[in-house]
Structure formats: structure tokens, C-alpha cells
Amino acid sequence: MAKPEVHYFSFEDLCDVTELTSHVVIEVVEHGIVEPLGNDPTSWVFDVEMITVTKKAVRLHQDLGIDWTGIALAINLLDEVESLRVENEKLKRRLERFVSE
């Protein structure tokens, strides 16, 4: 059985599992695309969510040729769309329980 392990990653771990150079990861952090705990790269702590966001940021950067500022904006907006979509679905379901056809 596969079990999830380590939930937190250092700067080095993140570079390792994403196969990104430290330069790219620093860009991603400096643009606030992910916000690790800690004040400098040696003390940064990332979680699994931040790994997937970093990977997504790099994909968008490479595939669509968007600069990092644009990526930060795009990811914020994509997140917002996603959370509004989820909330909308939840509210619709709750409304359906109250409103008869």
C-alpha cells in the first residue's frame, strides 16, 4: 500500500522534486507565486500544495511564454475562478435542497 510521506520540503528538496534550478524557484518565490515559511532560502519550508503550484507556474511559463509577473496574476485568477466555481456548486446544491421544482 502506498502511503503519503513527508509533508514539508526544504528549498533543496523542492528543487530536487521539481527538477528546477534554484534560480527558477527563487523567481517563483520572489513573485509571491508560492509563499514558503521562513525568511531566506536556507530556512524556507514548502508544503505539497506549493510544489504543485510551482510546477504549474513553470508549465505555464514554458508552454505559454508568460513572464513571472503574468504567471503570478494568472495563478491568482485561476485560483479565484476555481474557488468561486467550487463555492457556486456548493451553494447550488444547498439551494436545491430548499427550492422545489
Binding site: 500500500m1 502506498a2 502511503k3 503519503p4 510521506e5 513527508v6 522534486v17 527538477e19 505539497v48 500544495e49 510544489i51 504543485t52 510546477k55 504549474k56 508549465r59 505555464l60 514554458q62 508552454d63 505559454l64 511564454g65 494568472a74 485561476l78 467550487v86 456548493k90 446544491r93 444547498r94 435542497r97 430548499f98
Partner: protein, 316 residues
């Protein structure tokens, strides 16, 4: 294999210039990028568009493709011309995420996998396997305690000949209790195989909580709608209410209203320091039909109650 009309895929004319091709590609890439689009076939479309651009942006490849297109553009079933050999050694594809994923048509025209080719190079070549990201749908009950789930997902696999095909993998996964909707779980080394001494990729699961027939989720709390007869709402009642872990008795006070919420402590979802709460939301419902005798009772009630449910309207 099917002939691919790269011009049609990008929606440009066969005589389109580089700038038009680039613009068309960028527009479609944004539209179908799997990180942006919610469309089911977004990834397939994105690959198709990337492949088309890979060929049309490169003068050499485009010229070769145009030759082939002259030859086979009208055949759905494409066979390379007899003795066809790609005239050039093409460099690595530019698309980092999807390289090695180009179609059979692309491979038959341009050879290799369209991506990093290494099997004939003679050099030791190591590459980490690709990470896989996939959704895992679970029911609310699964989140109460550690749950075991069997998942099936597709991942690329490189054969001995260096060709990449998709294989289906089945895996048992332990889902820790208290997971929430949208949360990600990483399973180290469960992604695609590496090349050479390259490590295996990882598997990232995104948890999706399936809608429950009775309960709605609000952070770590649950909400259940409790239908009440008008007299239960008026007089109060003891009602048996289902929770995720069994039934409980809930005392409804008299003079209750539709929409009123009652908190049942600790009957919500698991959280770090215990459990969230269950909220019972009351909903007064009418019987579907009313016989004459009951109607008489309602009439008596209407005369005596002197209740104006629309009193607020006259104030405004």
C-alpha cells in the same frame, strides 16, 4: 494512422506566415492548456496544437511536412511515401511538459519521438520519470478515519525501443483521515519510470469530495436539511437525524422557522483538534395533498391564528 492537417489544427491557411502561425498557436495554447482549461479533452487538444506548432514554426520541418501534405492530404489513412526518410536530424522539441508525446503521424514523418531521443546515442542517459497529477474522488465517510483506496491512472511508459506508450497502473493508497476537498497528497516514486538511472517520478493526488446525498460541507462542518411538518415546527418535536456516524435524536423547539440552524456539536468532519459540527437546517414542508377533513382544521386554524406572513410588505 491518420493524416494530421497541422494548418487546420492551428486554424491558419497553408500560406500563413510565421507571425500568423505563432499568434494562432499562442491563442490556442492558452485556450487548451491543461492548467487553464476545464474541458475534458483539453490535454489532447493542447498536445495536438503543440505538435502542429512544433512542425510549422520550423522552416525545415514545415517544408518536409508540406511535401507530405501534397502527397497525402486527402487520405484519412496516412502512409508515408515509399522510401520516405526524414532528411534532417531534428533537434529536441521545445515543449518541456509534453515532449515525447507526439502522435504516430509525427513520428512516421520526422522519426524518433519528437522529443529527447537517446536510445541510439550510445551515451549513458539518465532522466527522472515524469510526475503524474490526478484527481481522487472520495466520499465524506472516507475522511473520518484513515481509508484505503484503489486508484487507477494512466502514465507514460517507455518500451525497450524507446517508444512512449500509455499504460494503466493500479495502486492501493492510504488516505489520511481529515483530508479536505482540493488537498494534495504526494506519493513518492509512484509516477512514471525514469530513463537509465533516473529516479521514478512522483504521483500527486488531488482529493475531490463527492457530493453527499444528505450532507453539505462548509469547511469542517456539515449541514443537513431537516424537513418538518408545520405542526412540528409550531409545537416542537423530537426528530431522528442521520449523522455521518449514525443517528441522533434532535429536539426541535416550538415556533421554529424554515432556515433556522441548530448546532450538533462534534458531528462534523475530522479536523486537527477533534471534529467540526453538524448543522441541522430546518425546512417546513407541506403535505402534498390535503383531504377535506384536514382542510377544515386548517380553516379553523386560519380563523384563530390571525397570522399575517407578509406583514413586512405593508411596512415598506
Amino acid at each position: 494512422m491518420n493524416f494530421k492537417d497541422y494548418y487546420k489544427i492551428l486554424g491558419v491557411e497553408p500560406d500563413a506566415d510565421k507571425k500568423q502561425i505563432k499568434t494562432a498557436y499562442r491563442k490556442l495554447a492558452r485556450k487548451y492548456h491543461p492548467d487553464v482549461s476545464k474541458q475534458d479533452d483539453a490535454e489532447a487538444k493542447f498536445k495536438e496544437v503543440s505538435e502542429a506548432y512544433e512542425v510549422l514554426k520550423d522552416d525545415g520541418k514545415r517544408a518536409e511536412y508540406d511535401d507530405i501534405r501534397q502527397y497525402g492530404a486527402h487520405d484519412q489513412q496516412f502512409q508515408p511515401p515509399p522510401g520516405w526518410q526524414s532528411g534532417r536530424q531534428h533537434g529536441a522539441a521545445g515543449n518541456a511538459q509534453y515532449e515525447g508525446d507526439f502522435s504516430d503521424f509525427f513520428s512516421s514523418v520526422f522519426g524518433g519521438q519528437g522529443g529527447r531521443r537517446n536510445t541510439q546515442s550510445g551515451f549513458a542517459f539518465n532522466e527522472r520519470g515524469r510526475d503524474i497529477e490526478t484527481d481522487l474522488s472520495i466520499v465524506l465517510e472516507d475522511t473520518l478515519a484513515d481509508a484505503s483506496k484503489t486508484i487507477t491512472f494512466r502514465l507514460p511508459s517507455r518500451g525497450d525501443d524507446g517508444r512512449v506508450t500509455e499504460v494503466t497502473k493500479t495502486l492501493n493508497v492510504k488516505i489520511p483521515s481529515g483530508v479536505s476537498d482540493g488537498e494534495r497528497i504526494r506519493l513518492k516514486g509512484q509516477g512514471a519510470e525514469g530513463v537509465g538511472k533516473g529516479a521514478k517520478g512522483d504521483l500527486y493526488l488531488r482529493i475531490r469530495l463527492l457530493p453527499h446525498p444528505l450532507f453539505d460541507v462548509e469547511e469542517r462542518n456539515l449541514i443537513i436539511t431537516v424537513p418538518l411538518a408545520p405542526w412540528e415546527a409550531a409545537l416542537g418535536a423530537k426528530v431522528e437525524v442521520p449523522t455521518l456516524t449514525g443517528k441522533i435524536n434532535l429536539t426541535i423547539p416550538g415556533d421554529s422557522q424554515t432556515g433556522q440552524r441548530m448546532r450538533i456539536k462534534g458531528k462534523g468532519l475530522t479536523k486537527k483538534d477533534g471534529f467540526g459540527d453538524l448543522y441541522a437546517v430546518l425546512k417546513v414542508v407541506m403535505p402534498e395533498t390535503t383531504d377535506d377533513e384536514i382542510k377544515q382544521h386548517w380553516e379553523q386554524l386560519a380563523e384563530k391564528a390571525g397570522f399575517d406572513p407578509r406583514a413586512q410588505w405593508s411596512n415598506s
